[in-house]
Symmetry: C2
Subunit: 240 residues, 2 copies
């Protein structure tokens, strides 16, 4: 059945994973439309012309209405669909606290995690080179500082960022951290509070999270294998 | 009378000006507490310890509840206070469109405008040097590209970003552009749509905007004069 809500995403992108899990866990009916950023599919064809003038992922169309920017999509879904209250709670100014985290994430956590992922995997992958030790070192230090800030500013003795219930702040944050963990960064070394929180969030998200993580890992692996095959074909061609 | 809402701001900062105008134009009662970032007042004393753990401006306390991040403060005020509907309209998905702009602004417009202001004025002012031609050139090109994107993505034949009524998207955007205009950037050259929109927003905001702009200009002038006096005292001391 064709759904009124179409969700365009790439599992290699952290905000895409967060929204995918949010949609699934909230049981919002949607049509999932994967778009490969590595292949440049977000820059061409119907996606560029009819779906997203920003040429960015994730994106939605809802009854034909186009919307970009993951935090805007999250709020749109919270207003327009039936969504469990704990994701964006009205009580005890939970929405203000979620908004504060999401704004902080956009200029801190997201920048640091994206940069590390790009230096470690994306740039070497696209340019078929080794990662630059220097760039990786800078990105790693920046990420270390940001994770320290995250622990200090947002994690407390409570289970989750807002208190005893999981919210979209936790879901967004775990997907950011996974972006660096997937390419080998040790986020939990000397960060016991972060490590405890991570396990709690992962367990609370359960199968929705597990399934998306598996697809993220598979997408990384597939890209690596494709690159390796291309390298072998090129090496073979050079030998002939 | 002591107000339950305390607003901590610096007129040299664009988000502080946007929220100040929003509070005044919405007739929300508040206590205005200026904090000088150039003097480092946001890093010390009561502000650091009791107001804002992020050490950032703008910030509020509302009935003792601390909140940072300008977009989170805007949404908090929209939920908790009586605010005219046009700033964040429910009709025709106006909130989704406002959210989309504000998220785009945070990683595009705000980054480009802040960088230009820092290269042109703040860094030379704090380090008592001339602006670096190279850094200014890079910042200027980035800003030009961002303003082109803003015009193309968000301005149309309508008066304002959302349509015929002014919203917080317009107010935020004009304060971003003023950050570069105040230090001599020609934002309107070959940008007729931007220029027309700017005039409409300025006129619509009327005296609230005018008064804040005057205080912004005065704060810049005062900082420049203080620096000049210090320079003269130092030159005099060197002569003796």
């Amino acid at each position: 059945m064709s759904q009124s809500l179409k969700f365009y995403f790439d599992f290699l992108n952290q905000s895409s994973r967060a929204l995918y899990i949010f949609l699934e866990a909230s049981k919002i009916p949607f049509e999932a439309i994967p778009i490969s950023m590595v292949k440049g599919e977000h820059l061409t064809g119907e996606f560029r012309d009819k779906v997203n003038r920003f040429r960015k992922l994730p994106a939605i169309t809802d009854h034909g209405y186009q919307l970009s920017e993951s935090v805007a999509i999250f709020r749109h879904l919270s207003r327009e669909k039936l969504v469990p209250e704990h994701w964006y709670p009205r009580r005890q100014l939970g929405r203000s606290r979620t908004d504060e985290y999401l704004a902080w994430q956009q200029t801190n956590m997201d920048v640091a995690c994206t940069d590390y992922f790009q230096q470690k995997w994306l740039i070497p992958h696209l340019q078929k080179t080794r990662a630059s030790d220097n760039a990786l070192n800078v990105a790693g230090k920046h990420l270390d500082g940001t994770l320290n800030d995250f622990e200090q500013l947002f994690l407390s003795s409570h289970k989750f960022i807002l208190g005893e219930n999981i919210s979209f702040a936790d879901l967004s944050a775990i997907c950011e951290i996974d972006q660096t963990k997937s390419v080998g960064f040790s986020a939990f070394k000397n960060r016991h509070k972060l490590s405890r929180w991570y396990d709690l969030v992962r367990d609370e998200l359960g199968p929705y999270y597990k399934s998306v993580q598996e697809q993220f890992d598979a997408a990384l692996k597939q890209s690596n294998q494709r690159e390796q095959r291309q390298g072998e074909v090129q090496a073979q061609a050079l030998k002939q």
